[in-house]
């Protein structure tokens, strides 16, 4: 049912159930918000979004107030603006004022709002927040002093990720966001996904930075410094560079990384192809030998940790394949090292990932051999931009270059790993070929593409009916796992990605990514798959070569030693 309301003396159409904020946003009126999260129940906590009810003279929170027929609203009356300004001034009154030293400098909602509301002097002086920096996690750094208690991280962690390892602790002016018993994040159930970082308006949540180690290695003449980048990186850097979203900067990235001084550039999409070789072989092996089904992908370290903590009974279902990052790392420090006549410890291996959880994964015990990590340092997409700046790389005046070879060429199947459904699609293509000896007629599987939180279909391979499910957003996975616990048995293969949309929406990506930008990234991956020639992992010539020269065959002895692992139940505070 539609009706009209009056906003700033203009009559606008609203429908029942819409909030005032929604009506305004539809009509190009922007009102600042802080605690508001799209699609979530409004809490009305921050009062940043207040507008004036012209009839009663009251200030009401537009994010939580439903539009009502006959309403008359002022969005920028002097009272409203003054009230918003006071809120910001109060938030600033106990803030550390560390902007110059803050990772979020120039990309901070608190800064933006104080500029927008023309805060130019310190009118309110408060006692600065005092709280301990939490550096315990391998992925996430928490600085509660910079927290403005908007509550977005708490919401995301509980509702989107189904983890809930952080919450509001204490009350009143002692309130902070913290873990149970004030313990370090590393002992909590945090899965390191970084989705809280993505929604944090300030520098209160950031990633653990590895710049120093990488710089040191680059300056160390006895180290060979190599780098790999994840499938989604080349299509999600555009926002960081301020260019049109969805542009694939592959060649430019290669050139830029060479300028920085990396000795060898690998593409993790190559090792994604390798993962597919191993994983599809494992799936077929499980099906043919009565192995544990459904098999569940294990390339997302957020999901793996979740399983260790919340779903240990599913650990036997996890594919034993390491993730592309770790497969690449293992191949670099074994096969590549031998070829280059290097000892593993002479190589410093960096990876560029859309993901904060990859930092945790890289330092897992399972990912080291004889005390040497397969991957030594991880940069997120965000960090990469800063890292390139540090080395004076001008991304706009640089000629595209090719990735290094061998171990660099990829199929488009490997590239698809960046989006939810991509691992599944790539695996189906190769499994189909292994079972039938033929290629699929139509490679694309549209039913498992896109942003839907859960996608499920049946695939028929030569009479073998395979039920497959693809979920993204940990909370959606939780629902599926619960159904399986209760007896659902029509799926044999499941892809789980912790982050909404898969790694293109990973916790290491550009902060402030819109839905449209996410879509552009996904479409960029699909476009690559459409236009390039080699669409299946098993046809990647460098993969074929790697098996011939080194690995033998999928699930072979060498593979088991280097590319597979097992996970164990993990005791955490939960």
């Amino acid at each position: 049912m539609d009706f009209t309301i009056n906003i700033n003396n203009k009559s606008l159409v609203a429908s029942r159930g819409e909030t005032i904020l929604e009506v305004m946003n539809r009509n190009g009126i922007r009102v600042p918000t802080l605690c508001h999260i799209k699609n979530a129940l409004p809490t009305g906590a921050c009062r940043m979004c207040v507008v004036e009810d012209n009839k009663t003279g009251k200030l009401i929170t537009s994010c939580s107030f439903p539009a009502e027929p006959g309403m008359s609203i002022l969005t920028h009356s002097p009272r409203v603006v003054e009230s918003r300004k006071t809120i910001i001034e109060l938030l600033l009154s106990n803030h550390p004022d560390d902007c110059l030293y803050c990772v979020r400098n120039k990309n901070c909602e608190l800064q933006d709002l104080s500029e927008e509301l023309h805060v130019t002097e310190r009118r309110i002086r408060g006692v600065k927040n005092r709280a301990n920096l939490d550096l315990s996690s391998a992925s996430i750094v928490r600085d509660p002093e910079k927290c403005i208690l908007c509550g977005r991280c708490v919401y995301v962690c509980e509702e989107v990720m189904g983890v809930a390892c952080i919450d509001f602790i204490n009350r009143g002016n002692k309130s902070i966001i913290g873990t149970a018993f004030h313990q370090g994040l590393n002992t909590s159930s945090c899965i390191n996904c970084g989705q809280c970082v993505m929604v944090c308006p300030t520098g209160a949540l950031t990633e653990k930075n590895h710049f120093a180690q990488i710089q040191e290695a680059l300056n160390n003449p006895t180290k060979r410094v190599v780098v790999q980048y994840a499938p989604s990186i080349t299509v999600s850097m555009a926002e960081e560079l301020g260019i049109e979203p969805g542009i694939d900067i592959n060649g430019i990235l290669n050139a830029a990384l060479r300028k920085v001084g990396f000795d060898h550039i690998f593409d993790s999409s190559f090792s994604a192809d390798l993962t597919i070789m191993e994983e599809s072989a494992e799936l077929i092996h499980r099906i043919q030998n009565g192995g544990v089904l459904p098999m569940i992908t294990s390339c997302c370290p957020g999901w793996v940790k979740y399983a260790e903590e919340f779903a240990p009974e599913f650990l036997p279902n996890l594919s034993s394949c390491k993730s592309p990052q770790q497969m690449m790392g293992a191949i670099i420090k074994s096969h590549f090292a031998t070829q280059e006549n290097l000892k593993p410890e002479e190589i410093f291996s960096v990876s560029i990932m859309p993901c904060t959880a990859k930092k945790f994964e890289a330092q897992r015990e399972e990912m080291t051999r004889e005390g040497i990590s397969d991957v030594d340092a991880v940069l997120t997409t965000r960090e990469l931009t800063k890292f390139l700046k540090l080395f004076g790389v001008d991304m706009f005046n640089i000629k595209p270059e090719l990735v290094d070879s061998p171990l660099g060429f990829r199929s488009t199947a490997g590239k698809l790993f960046g989006a939810s459904g991509g691992v599944m699609e790539a695996a189906i293509r190769t499994a189909y070929h292994s079972i039938t000896g033929k290629e699929m007629v139509e490679f694309q599987v549209p039913a498992i593409r896109g942003f839907e939180g859960r996608k499920e279909i049946k695939i028929n391979i030569n009479g073998l009916e395979l039920g497959v499910a693809v979920v993204n957003g940990m909370a959606n996975a939780k629902v599926l796992l619960d159904e399986i616990r209760e007896g659902k048995n029509d799926v044999q293969f499941i892809e789980i990605m912790a982050c909404p949309g898969g790694c293109i929406g990973g916790g290491g990506q550009h902060i402030g990514t819109s839905d449209e930008q996410l879509k552009a990234r996904m479409n960029a991956l699909y476009r690559i798959d459409e236009t390039e020639r080699i669409k299946v992992s098993h046809k990647n010539p460098e993969i074929v070569e790697l098996y011939q020269d080194f690995l033998g065959k999928p699930l072979g002895h060498k593979s088991h030693e280097l590319l597979h692992t097992h996970y164990h139940e993990r005791e955490v505070v939960k």
């Binding site: 509001f168 602790i169 204490n170 009350r171 873990t179 149970a180 018993f181 909590s188 939960k574």
Partner: protein, 153 residues
């Protein structure tokens, strides 16, 4: 059956409705909310530990450390406040090197802040192990608690 299990079995599993009464009962039975009991409540009600900790820290009534051998209650009622109980508390916290709600490392002393304990005429009042001490000052508070230290040994 542990004490906590005993409390839990009186309430239906799963759901937040009974969280506060459960925590209160456990605190009454054990004197404080241990990490172990909070985790156990969480498993029983299917509530994340962070949520329970968040709720419990919201209310002043809950403590997360066991009482010390000597338990010092500092009255923060109006009469005591007017006569300087906040300085007394500050001094006490400094002297014992713990905050209200906490227990010293050696387990000798714990501090608790309480509302009017009905001895306003003697304000500011503190109560150690049930014994009242009247007209406490920032100086005398140290001597008072030190007496107990020696007594305990």
């Amino acid at each position: 059956m542990t004490l906590v299990q005993h409390v839990l079995h009186k309430y239906p599993a799963v759901g937040r409705d009974n969280l506060i009464p459960i925590l209160q009962e456990i605190q009454t039975a054990e004197g404080y909310l241990s990490k172990k009991s909070i985790l156990e409540v969480g498993r029983y009600l299917d509530i994340p530990a962070s949520k329970i900790f968040g709720v419990a820290t919201f209310y002043n009534q809950f403590r997360f450390e066991p009482f010390g051998v000597n338990h010092v209650q500092v009255c923060r009622g109006t009469a005591c406040h007017v006569l300087g109980s906040s300085t007394v508390l500050q001094e006490l916290e400094k002297h014992l090197k713990v905050k209200a709600g906490q227990t010293t490392r050696d387990g000798q002393f714990s501090i608790e802040v309480v509302a009017c304990i009905g001895a306003c005429g003697l304000a500011p009042v503190i109560c150690v192990n049930g014994e009242f001490h009247a007209k406490v000052t920032a100086q005398s508070i140290k001597e008072i608690v030190d007496q107990y230290k020696n007594r305990g040994e």
